[in-house]
C-alpha cells in the first residue's frame, strides 16, 4: 500500500487553537478535515506537509442551523449529515441531489463541506452548488472573521481565498421564498467525479415569472455562473423553449477539456442537456415550494 511521508500530527481543540497552530507551524502545516482528498495525495507524495493539524474534533463546526433567512452550515459538517438533513432537503433540494452523487456513502461519512470547498477540485460538486445558491463563506483568521461570496472565495482550480493561517468555518445559504433548485451529474460510474454536472436555482415572483435564477456547471471550465443564460431567463415565465435557449448559452459559455471522461463536444453537449434538465426540475420545485 502507498503511505504518506513522515509528518507531525497535532489535534486542534478549538478553531482558535487551529489558527494558532497554523500560525506556529507555518506554510509547511496543513489542516486535515475528512482527509479523503488530502490523504490520498499524501500517499502519492504529491502533498507532504510537515505538520498535519487535525480539525475533526472541532464539533463546534459541525452544525446545520437556521438563522432567520439564512441556513448556516458548519464547515466540519459531514456530507452524510447534509444528505440526511430534512431541512436541507426541503430548503435546498440541490444539496441533497448533489450529495447523493458525491463519492460514495462511506466516504460521505468522513468528507466535509469545508474540505470539499477548500480542495476546490474543478470537478467538485459542492462548489457549484454553493455558487448556485449564492452561498457565503465565513473564514476566520488571527484577525477575526471575514465573509466572502463564493465568487471571491473560489480563486480557481485547487485555489481558494483561505490564507494559510485561516480556516473556513461556516457556509451561509440565503433562504429565498418560492424557490427551487436541482443538480444533475453525468458520471462514468457511481462515485466517479463528474464528466459534467449542472445545478440551477430558480425563484419565482408572485406572478409566476422567474424572479431570480442561477445556473452553475461543474467540470467544464467555468468559474462563475452562466450569467448569459440567467439574464435570458429572468423576468420570464419558465418554459421549455426558454430552457432550450438557456442550455444553448450554457454550452457556449463552457470551456471543457477533453480527457478520459469524454471529448470537448460531448461535454459541451452535456452542459446544454443538463442545464435544461436542472432548470426544468428547479422551476417545478419552485412552483411547489410554499415558503422560504
Amino acid at each position: 500500500m502507498q503511505i504518506p511521508a513522515s509528518f507531525d500530527y497535532v489535534r486542534a481543540s478549538t478553531v482558535d487553537d487551529a489558527i494558532s497552530l497554523l500560525e506556529r507551524h507555518g506554510p509547511e502545516s496543513r489542516v486535515v478535515a475528512g482527509g479523503h482528498s488530502l490523504l490520498p495525495m499524501m500517499k502519492l507524495r504529491l502533498a507532504r506537509p510537515e505538520w498535519l493539524i487535525d480539525i475533526n474534533e472541532l464539533f463546534e463546526l459541525d452544525f446545520v442551523l437556521r438563522d432567520a433567512n439564512t441556513l448556516r452550515v458548519g464547515a466540519m459538517t459531514r456530507h452524510a449529515t447534509l444528505l440526511e438533513s430534512p431541512e436541507i432537503a426541503r430548503l435546498f433540494p440541490i444539496v441533497a441531489d448533489a450529495e447523493r452523487v458525491i463519492a460514495d456513502p462511506t466516504v460521505r461519512n468522513r468528507g466535509t463541506i469545508g474540505g470539499s470547498l477548500c480542495q476546490a477540485d474543478p470537478a467538485e460538486d459542492l462548489s457549484t452548488v454553493c455558487k448556485v445558491l449564492r452561498a457565503e463563506a465565513v473564514i476566520r483568521g488571527p484577525g477575526g472573521e471575514r465573509v466572502l461570496s463564493m465568487h471571491d472565495f473560489h480563486k480557481g482550480p485547487y485555489e481558494t481565498a483561505v490564507a494559510h493561517n485561516e480556516l473556513l468555518v461556516e457556509v451561509r445559504f440565503p433562504i429565498r421564498p418560492h424557490s427551487g433548485s436541482a443538480y444533475e451529474k453525468v458520471e462514468r460510474r457511481v462515485g466517479d467525479w463528474a464528466v459534467v454536472a449542472a445545478g440551477a436555482a430558480v425563484s419565482l415572483a408572485s406572478d409566476g415569472t422567474i424572479d431570480d435564477v442561477t445556473i452553475g456547471l461543474t467540470a467544464v471550465g467555468i468559474e462563475g455562473t452562466v450569467t448569459e443564460a440567467e439574464t435570458l431567463l429572468r423576468g420570464h415565465r419558465p418554459g421549455e423553449e426558454l430552457f432550450v435557449a438557456a442550455g444553448r448559452l450554457a454550452a457556449l459559455a463552457s470551456d471543457p477539456v477533453a480527457d478520459q471522461r469524454g471529448p470537448v463536444d460531448y461535454k459541451r453537449h452535456l452542459a446544454d442537456e443538463l442545464t435544461r434538465r436542472v432548470l426544468r426540475r428547479a422551476a417545478a420545485r419552485a412552483g411547489e415550494a410554499q415558503e422560504g
Binding site: V186, D192, W193
Partner: protein
C-alpha cells in the same frame, strides 16, 4: 418412485436439505471468512521478516543510464537495495516467461513499459521501504515508445526487444487455424458477407487482493518456503526450481487464502522472484505486496485484440463461414499463459455455437511498450475474444438480413444430434442442447413482450435495447498429448485418505481463489463414497501437502481436478469392496454398492459402511492378497478432451438519449455446465462473471496516452462496477452432462465473463439502431455512446 424410497432408506444418500453429495450446502470455508479469520499472504508475519518495495519506471521506453542507490541504502531501516546489475551477477536478471520469451526481473539495459521493475528495496518495515524508493536516483535516456499497436510492425518502428539476438522488428508470432482456401471459396460464393473491425480493449482482472509473496529461505538446509498469491502453486514450484537453481524438493510453495485471482495470479511476476532473492541475500524472510497501481500497471492485463471479422451467409440466413485476422498486443514481453501450442489461446473457437462449412483465423502477436500479459480475466484462454467477435458478427448479420437475432441464432445453432461436433478449426464439442438453452432464456426474459415494449418505446423516442449472446466455452485444459505449459502436461492429481474412523482428507493440486473448492470437492467425494461433506477435509494450496497438478485457471478445476477427485474416490470405493468382502466373508463380486456402504447382493441387511471398512482396513481384519492396510488412493487425471459448457444470455438496457448513459435493466443467463455439484456456488460463479461483463462492456479500459502513460492505473480511473451498476441477476440452467467426464461436469468459472459482454454490447447497439448504428466498441461509456449516436463511433484504440 423406487429411487426416492431407496434414498430415504439410505442415510448416506442424504436429502435435499443435507445432501451427502451434490446439492446446495453452505460453504465449508465460510465460517473462517465471516469471522475475519481468512489467512491471506499479507496476513503472514514471520520472525525477523523484512519488507520489500519495488521502484518502477515512470516512462514507457528508455535506456537505463545509471542508478544511484546510495541515499536509499543510507536511509534508516533499509537493509539492502537490489538492482538489475546485481541480478546479472546472480544470473537472475531475466526470467523465462510462460510463452518461451524472457522477461526482465529488474531492468538492466532498458525499461520497456511504464511500471517496469527497476530496483528492489528491502527494509525493516514497509514504511521505510517505501520511503527509500524516493531516494533512488535513476537516469533514463527516453526513447520513442511503440504505443499504437497498429503501427508496431511498421518499418522503422522502434525495436523494443533489442535484448533478443538478431531482433529487428516487434513481431512475435503468426498463428492460424482452419482452412484459408476453403473459407475464401465459401465467402466468394455467399449471398451476404458482413465485415467489421471489432476491438476487445485492454482490461485488467483487478482482484481485490493484489499480488504478493513472503519468501523464507533457510540457508542451512538450502530450503525455500514461498507464500504467494498463486493460482498454480505446483507449476510455480517447478519454474522456481528451474529459474533459481534451488532443487525442487527444497522448495515449498504455499498459496494460502487468495483474495480473487481471475487469471491475474497465474504468472510468476518479478516481485515474487525479488522476494526470494531478497530472502537469500539478507538471510531473513522478505514480504513483498503490490499496491493497487502496481497491480493495475504491471501484472497480467487481459485481451487487447483488434479483430477484423467477417461472416458469410445465404440470403435466407444460413450462416456458412467466418474468418478473422487479429492483431494481438502482448506488451513488452511475451508472457501470456496458455498451452504451448496455442499462442493465441483458444481463439480459434471463434466459430461459436454454429454449424459452419468453413472457418479460418490468423493471429499476429506483437510487442508494444506496455505491460506484458494478455491471457487473464476469466478468459478461458481467449474464448472471451472469440465469443465476442462471433456474437457481434451474428448480430450484425441479423441486422443486415433484417432478421430477429434470436431467430437467426435458432436457425444456425448446432443441433443436439450433431454432437460430438467437430468444428472447422479442430475442436470436438463434447455435448450440447443449444436450442433448449436459448429457448429457455427467451422464455425467462419474455422475449416477445420485450420486443413489443421496445417498439412502443422507440415510437416515443426512448432508447431500449435487447441483446442476445449464445456462447460455447472450451474449458478443462487439457489432454497432455496436445496441451502443456512450459513442458508440463496439463494434468491434475488427487489423493484421498479415509481415516480409521471414517473421516476423510482429499488433497488436490488446484488452488481456490474463492471458488469454494473446499466445499465442491468434498461434495464430489461425498457423492462417490457416501461420507458427509463435513467429514471430508479438502487440502489445497501447499505443494508439500498436495499432489502435483497445474492449478486453477481456464475453468479447469472441476473438469480436470474434479475428475481426478471423482476417480480417486471410485478407486477407494473399489478397494473398500475388497476389504468389505474380507470382513463379510463374501466374494467381492457378490457385493453391491449403495451410497456409503457395500452389502451382499440379495441381503441388504448384511453390509459394511465406509467407516466400518476404514476401521477394518486399519484394524485387524485379514486383508485379501494384494490389498494394503489402508483406505487410500491417488490418481493423476489426463483429460481425454476439454468440456464445452454453453449458455444463452439476454440483456436489456436503457440508454439515456440525452447523455448516452447506459443502464443494464435486466440480465437473463441460462447456463449449462453439465452435472451441477453445488447450485449455490454455480450461481455465484455466474453472478460474478456477469458483473465482469458489465465492467468490460460499459466502463473498464486500461488506456494509454501517446507517451505510454497508463491512464488506468488506479481504481479512480479503472472502473469496477458497484452494486448500483448491476441488476438483480436472473439465472436459469439446463443440464447436458459431458459424456467423457467421470461425473459429467463441465467448468463454470468463466462462462459468464465469456458470454456476457457480447450480450450487453449487442443490447447497446440494438438500442442505438434508430441512429443507424450497427457496431460500437467497448467500453460503452456515456461519452462513447453519445459519439456513436452522433454517427461517429470510434475504436477505443
Amino acid at each position: 418412485m423406487t429411487i426416492i424410497e431407496e434414498r430415504a432408506a439410505n442415510p448416506a444418500a442424504g436429502d435435499e436439505n443435507r445432501p451427502i453429495g451434490y446439492g446446495r450446502i453452505q460453504r465449508k470455508e465460510d465460517p473462517r471468512f465471516v469471522r475475519g479469520k481468512g489467512h491471506y499472504v499479507d496476513d503472514i508475519v514471520l520472525p525477523g521478516m523484512l519488507h520489500g518495495a519495488i521502484l518502477r519506471s515512470p516512462v514507457a521506453h528508455a535506456r537505463l543510464v545509471s542508478i544511484d542507490t546510495s541515499a536509499a541504502l543510507a536511509h534508516p531501516g533499509v537493509v539492502a537495495v537490489i538492482t538489475g546489475q546485481d541480478l546479472l551477477g546472480l544470473k537472475l536478471a531475466w526470467a523465462p516467461t510462460l510463452s518461451a520469451d524472457v522477461q526482465a526481473v529488474l531492468a538492466t539495459d532498458k525499461v520497456r513499459f511504464q511500471g517496469q521493475e527497476v530496483a528492489f528495496v528491502i527494509a525493516e518495515d514497509r514504511y521505510a521501504a517505501r520511503d527509500a524508493l524516493e531516494l533512488i536516483e535513476v537516469d533514463y535516456d527516453v526513447l520513442p515508445p511503440v504505443i499504437d499497436v497498429r503501427t508496431a510492425l511498421d518499418p522503422g518502428a522502434p525495436v523494443i526487444r533489442d535484448d533478443l539476438e538478431g531482433r529487428t522488428d516487434n513481431h512475435i508470432f503468426d498463428w492460424e487455424a482452419g482452412n484459408s482456401a476453403e473459407t475464401d471459396a465459401v465467402f466468394a460464393s455467399a449471398d451476404v458477407v458482413v465485415s467489421q473491425e471489432v476491438v476487445y480493449p485492454r482490461v485488467h482482472p483487478a482482484p481485490m487482493e493484489t499480488c504478493g509473496a513472503v519468501a523464507d529461505f533457510e540457508p542451512i538446509e538450502g530450503a525455500l518456503t514461498l507464500y504467494e498469491t498463486s493460482q498454480a502453486p505446483h507449476a510455480h514450484r517447478t519454474l522456481f526450481a528451474i529459474v533459481s537453481g534451488i532443487p525442487e524438493h527444497k522448495i515449498r510453495i504455499v498459496s494460502p487464502d487468495i483474495g480473487g485471482g481471475f487469471g491475474n495470479k497465474v504468472g510468476i511476476y518479478p516481485g515474487y522472484i525479488l522476494a526470494v532473492v531478497g530472502s537469500i541475500v539478507t538471510g531473513r524472510p522478505v514480504k513483498w505486496m503490490e499496491d493497487r497501481s502496481e497491480n493495475l500497471m504491471s501484472t497480467s492485463f487481459a485481451r487487447d485484440y483488434i479483430m477484423q471479422g467477417e461472416i458469410a451467409a445465404t440470403k435466407d440466413g444460413k450462416i456458412l463461414a467466418v474468418r478473422s485476422t487479429v492483431l494481438a498486443d502482448h506488451g513488452a514481453f511475451n508472457a501470456t499463459a496458455q498451452p504451448t501450442k496455442y499462442p493465441a489461446g483458444f481463439f480459434h473457437i471463434f466459430t461459436g455455437s454454429y454449424d459452419l462449412q468453413a472457418a479460418h483465423c490468423k493471429v499476429t502477436g506483437v510487442y508494444t511498450n506496455k505491460a506484458p500479459g494478455g491471457v487473464a480475466y476469466a478468459c478461458s484462454f481467449r474464448v472471451t475474444e472469440a465469443v465476442y467477435l462471433v456474437e457481434r458478427l451474428v448480430d450484425m448479420l441479423a441486422h443486415k438480413l433484417e432478421m430477429d437475432p434470436a431467430k437467426l441464432r435458432l436457425m444456425n445453432l448446432i443441433k443436439p444430434e450433431q454432437f460430438p461436433y467437430k468444428n472447422k478449426t479442430g475442436w470436438e464439442y463434447d455435448s450440447g442442447n443449444y436450442e433448449q438453452a436459448l429457448r429457455k432464456s427467451m422464455e425467462m426474459a419474455g422475449y416477445d413482450d420485450l420486443r413489443r415494449e421496445q417498439q412502443e418505446k422507440r415510437a416515443r423516442g426512448e432508447l431500449m435495447g435487447i441483446g442476445i449472446s449464445f456462447f460455447t466455452e472450451t474449458v478443462g485444459a487439457g489432454p497432455r498429448k496436445h496441451m502443456d505449459i512450459v513442458g508440463l502436461g496439463m494434468a491434475d492429481g488427487a489423493e484421498l485418505r479415509i481415516h480409521p474412523t471414517g473421516k476423510a482428507v482429499v488433497r488436490i493440486s488446484v488452488q481456490s481463489q474463492g471458488q469454494g473448492h473446499e466445499t465442491t470437492f468434498a461434495q464430489i467425494v461425498a457423492e462417490e463414497i457416501g461420507i458427509p461433506p463435513e467429514d471430508i477435509d479438502v487440502v489445497h494450496g501447499d505443494t508439500d501437502q498436495t499432489p502435483f497438478g497445474l492449478g486453477t485457471y481456464g475453468s479447469r478445476s472441476t473438469p480436470v481436478s474434479g475428475a481426478a477427485v471423482a476417480l480417486v474416490a471410485r478407486k477407494v470405493r473399489e478397494k473398500a469392496k475388497f476389504i468389505a468382502a474380507a470382513m463379510l466373508e463374501a466374494r467381492p463380486e457378490d457385493l453391491e454398492w449403495e451410497k456409503g456402504r457395500w452389502f451382499v447382493k440379495g441381503d441388504p441387511s448384511v453390509g459394511k459402511t465406509m467407516a466400518e471398512i476404514a476401521m477394518g482396513a486399519h484394524g485387524t481384519v485379514t486383508l485379501p492378497e494384494g490389498i494394503d492396510g489402508n483406505l487410500d488412493a491417488e490418481v493423476t487425471y489426463d483429460p481425454p478432451n476439454l468440456t464445452f459448457p454453453f449458455g444463452a444470455y439476454i440483456c436489456v438496457v436503457d440508454v439515456d438519449p440525452g447523455t448516452g448513459h447506459v443502464t443494464v435493466r435486466r440480465f437473463i443467463a441460462v447456463d449449462d455446465c453439465g452435472t451441477r455439484i453445488n447450485p449455490m456456488i454455480i450461481e455465484g460463479q455466474v453472478h460474478g462473471g456477469l458483473t465482469d461483463g458489465v465492467g468490460m462492456a460499459l466502463m473498464q479500459f486500461i488506456e494509454f496516452d501517446k507517451e505510454g502513460n497508463n491512464l488506468g492505473g488506479t481504481f479512480m480511473d479503472y472502473l469496477i462496477p458497484t452494486a448500483l451498476e448491476v441488476p438483480d441477476w436472473e439465472t436459469g440452467f439446463t443440464v447436458t452432462p459431458s459424456p467423457h467426464h467421470p461425473i459429467g461436469a463441465k467448468g463454470i468459472g468463466e462462462s459468464a465473463t465469456v458470454g456476457s459482454p457480447p450480450a450487453i454490447v449487442n443490447a447497446v447497439v440494438d438500442a442505438l439502431a434508430p441512429f443507424g448504428i450497427t457496431h460500437m466498441d467497448m467500453p460503452c461509456t456515456p461519452a462513447r455512446v453519445w459519439e456513436a449516436m452522433q454517427g461517429r463511433p470510434r475504436p477505443p484504440i
